[in-house]
């Protein structure tokens, strides 16, 4: 072994105050992150009988129901695009977020051995669950392209900004699940509240309906809900901005996400120290 070459010094001390993030350490452990995401993806597709089909079926059925109920029966506006496309463009990021809530919240409790028997940066655990969900997103994205082609919709030039909104989605999911996963270690009931939280959040976000249903005077403020900013951003990138004001909504959401993320990291790093003793 090249002992001298790789001589790394580790100092272990009692943690003080609020934790900050150790980027160098995260980088050193990056291969574990890769392997854990790879594991989660493999398992997710191995255990189900029809594998990838679920990833399509779930948003597809939901989109159909929303289109029929909100588009047909309630006759809500969709801003000039087919209602189904508008809904599906919102459901695509939403399902990534909803799955992240479900899987990430339980991630630390479920990976007990990784917390109590080895040292892996614990921040990875909620992150892995979010990243593994992106494979679903890719499959669903291919379907969306097909759906838009079917309706003859040509994406506008700003579709090139889509990767930014995917990043925004991931950061939003991570910011929220840092809180939930850490809280779930101490208060195991958190994971039981997640289904209700997800459902309420879905209807509070313009997924099943367009932001046009809000009066113009309050429309900016829907950005207080970070997922509203994500969904609006996706729709703007893919379908254009019929209603206007997306920029302000996205900026507001981004600000909220930043606060949630910084607070989430600090909280997570603080309680992380006792994970091994509590889990």
């Amino acid at each position: 072994m090249a002992a001298a070459a790789e001589s790394r010094v580790t100092v272990i001390q009692p943690p003080r105050g609020w934790g900050s993030i150790n980027l160098r350490e995260l980088w050193e452990f990056r291969e574990i992150l890769y392997f854990l995401v790879w594991r989660d993806v493999k398992i997710r597709y191995k255990q189900t009988a029809i594998g990838a089909a679920w990833v399509l079926l779930q948003p597809l059925l939901t989109a159909t129901i929303f289109t029929v109920v909100f588009g047909r029966f309630a006759g809500l506006p969709s801003g000039g695009v087919p209602y189904a496309v508008m809904v599906y463009a919102g459901l695509l990021p939403w399902f990534v977020f909803a799955n992240a809530l479900t899987f990430s919240t339980r991630s630390i409790v479920e990976n007990q051995a990784l917390v109590t028997k080895v040292y892996v940066p614990r921040l990875f655990l909620p992150l892995v669950a979010v990243l593994a969900g992106l494979v679903d997103f890719l499959i669903g994205g291919v379907f969306l392209v097909g759906l838009m082609a079917w309706y003859g919709i040509v994406p506008p030039l700003q579709a090139l900004t889509l990767p930014l909104f995917v990043l925004f989605l991931v950061v939003t999911a991570v910011a929220v699940t840092l809180w939930l996963s850490a809280l779930n270690v101490r208060y195991r009931d958190v994971q039981y509240t997640v289904p209700f939280l997800t459902q309420a959040w879905l209807f509070a976000t313009p997924v099943a309906y367009s932001a046009l249903v809000f009066p113009e005077s309050v429309r900016t403020w829907i950005g207080l809900n970070p997922m509203a900013g994500v969904v609006q951003g996706f729709r703007w990138a893919l379908l254009g901005d019929e209603a206007g004001g997306v920029g302000a909504q996205v900026l507001l959401s981004a600000a909220i996400v930043l606060v949630l993320l910084v607070g989430g990291i600090a909280y997570f790093r603080r309680v992380e120290r006792s994970f091994a003793d509590v889990v």
Partner: protein
């Protein structure tokens, strides 16, 4: 302790657990209930404060330094803080006070097969587990064939691990762990799993590792393994460092101190918990057992012995009504409940022993020089023919360490007495060779 450069330096390490933290987790409703109860708690705030009672120091001021290439054993009774120390060194849990500086790549092996997933194949699990243990992908690629060969499961490499027998899973997991190449290796009791053959293989691998000049910290209850692997050992007791020095000295001190002194005297509730069978024909109990103790030659309670020490078993009991025929049966069993030794109060008496009401103590001395390295369970039965029987099982676990006869230190057998041997030439053709006699 060594002229080699220091690679691990531990200074005044302390780790506190609140008793509440030892509970697995809290539900929100408990927190709410706690908030409701809080005003009441404020009212009856006692002077001593709840803090003092709810705190346990799992490590209480541990300091030591370790040079490169040293193989250090950690010994001590359950709850002494050995595993907590390893967890702090592996950064799994944070210390409350103190400071540790480690130079070099640390690999910790607190469990074999961490992160194994039953749905993944053997091949996939090798990569996953290797990465989790801290191996780089290129490192796993390079050693993949070696790992597979060591495990002996080459044929099932692409089968999901859930179809493996548990033995195969352990073998695969250990093979990955065995190919870990950190500069500093922390190992906790992993040798305690698997069958005897697997344990031998593990020990062999550990010997190889220590010979490669790697720095190792090794925790085990298996004192024979510690003795054969480690040149230096720390003895921990209730989070404190009692001894730091050569392995034999540490083991001597551990046994001399009577490791598990409390465990060697069983009475009251703890005795009740060990009742395996209670048969009461007739109305009321005729006798009551009050205390069972394992003592050394000086009458001090202990559960760890060297094979050249006497083991005394004392049973205290109260006879409530005249018992016409009473006896006590003491059995030592191995881990599989196979009796290794049995003795009875009436072995040397003719006819029934009649006892009048009163308190009694029956004590038996198990002579020195009988056992090898052995862990034996003490079982005691009190029998009043033909009416009443109480069986106590696993009352005390006895840890016997072979002390060696002369230069012979191989002691892995239940019985390892010193018996007279004679060796002489047998065949006529060899008749002129000198006979050797040894007693």
């Amino acid at each position: 302790m060594s002229s080699e450069p220091t690679v691990v330096s531990v200074e005044g390490l302390r780790k506190r657990y609140r008793l509440g933290q030892l509970e697995p987790y809290r539900a929100l409703r408990d927190v709410l209930a706690g908030a409701l109860a809080a005003p009441a708690r404020l009212l009856r705030r006692d002077a001593s404060g709840p803090q003092a009672r709810e705190v346990v120091w799992a490590l209480d001021g541990v300091s030591f330094e370790l040079g490169q290439g040293e193989v250090l054993g950690l010994i001590g009774a359950n709850g002494a803080g050995k595993s907590t120390l390893l967890k702090v060194l592996s950064r799994i849990t944070a210390p409350t006070e103190g400071r540790v500086v480690i130079r070099g790549r640390v690999g910790s092996l607190l469990e074999v097969g961490t992160g194994f997933h039953p749905e993944l194949t053997g091949r996939e699990n090798i990569y996953l587990n290797g990465a989790i243990l801290g191996m780089r992908k290129t490192e796993i690629d390079r050693r993949f064939d070696e790992i597979v060969e060591f495990s002996g499961i080459a044929r099932f490499l692409d089968t999901p691990v859930k179809r493996f027998s548990s033995g195969m899973q352990v073998r695969l997991a250990f093979s990955v762990a065995a190919h870990l190449e950190p500069e500093i290796l922390l190992v906790d009791e992993v040798l305690a799993v698997g069958d005897a053959e697997f344990q031998r293989k593990c020990l062999g691998k550990m010997h190889d590792v220590t010979r490669q000049g790697r720095t190792v910290i090794f925790v085990s209850h298996n004192l024979a393994a510690v003795r054969s692997l480690c040149s230096r050992a720390l003895l921990l007791d209730k989070g404190r460092l009692l001894f730091d020095g050569d392995t034999d000295g540490a083991i001597e001190r551990y046994l001399g101190r009577g490791g598990g002194r409390e465990a060697a005297v069983v009475e009251g509730e703890r005795l009740e918990e060990r009742v395996a069978k209670r048969r009461l024909y007739g109305s009321e109990p005729l006798f009551r057992c009050t205390r069972i103790a394992v003592l050394d030659e000086e009458g001090l309670p202990t559960s760890s012995f060297r094979s050249d020490e006497e083991i005394r078993v004392a049973v205290d009991y109260t006879v409530l009504r005249r018992v016409p025929s009473f006896r006590i049966l003491v059995t030592l069993t191995d881990g599989n409940q196979v009796p290794v030794l049995r003795t009875e109060t009436i072995d040397e008496v003719e006819g029934p022993v009649t006892l009048d009401p009163g308190s009694y103590r029956s004590e038996v001395v198990i002579p020195r020089g009988l056992f090898g390295d052995a862990q034996l369970d003490l079982n005691v039965s009190l029998i009043a023919e033909v009416n009443q029987v109480i069986d106590y099982a696993g009352v005390v676990m006895l840890d016997v360490h072979f002390a060696g006869h002369g230069s012979n230190t191989r002691g892995k057998a239940y019985l390892r007495p010193q018996l007279p041997w004679q060796t002489r030439a047998a065949a006529p053709s060899a008749a002129d060779q000198p006979g050797v006699e040894r007693a």
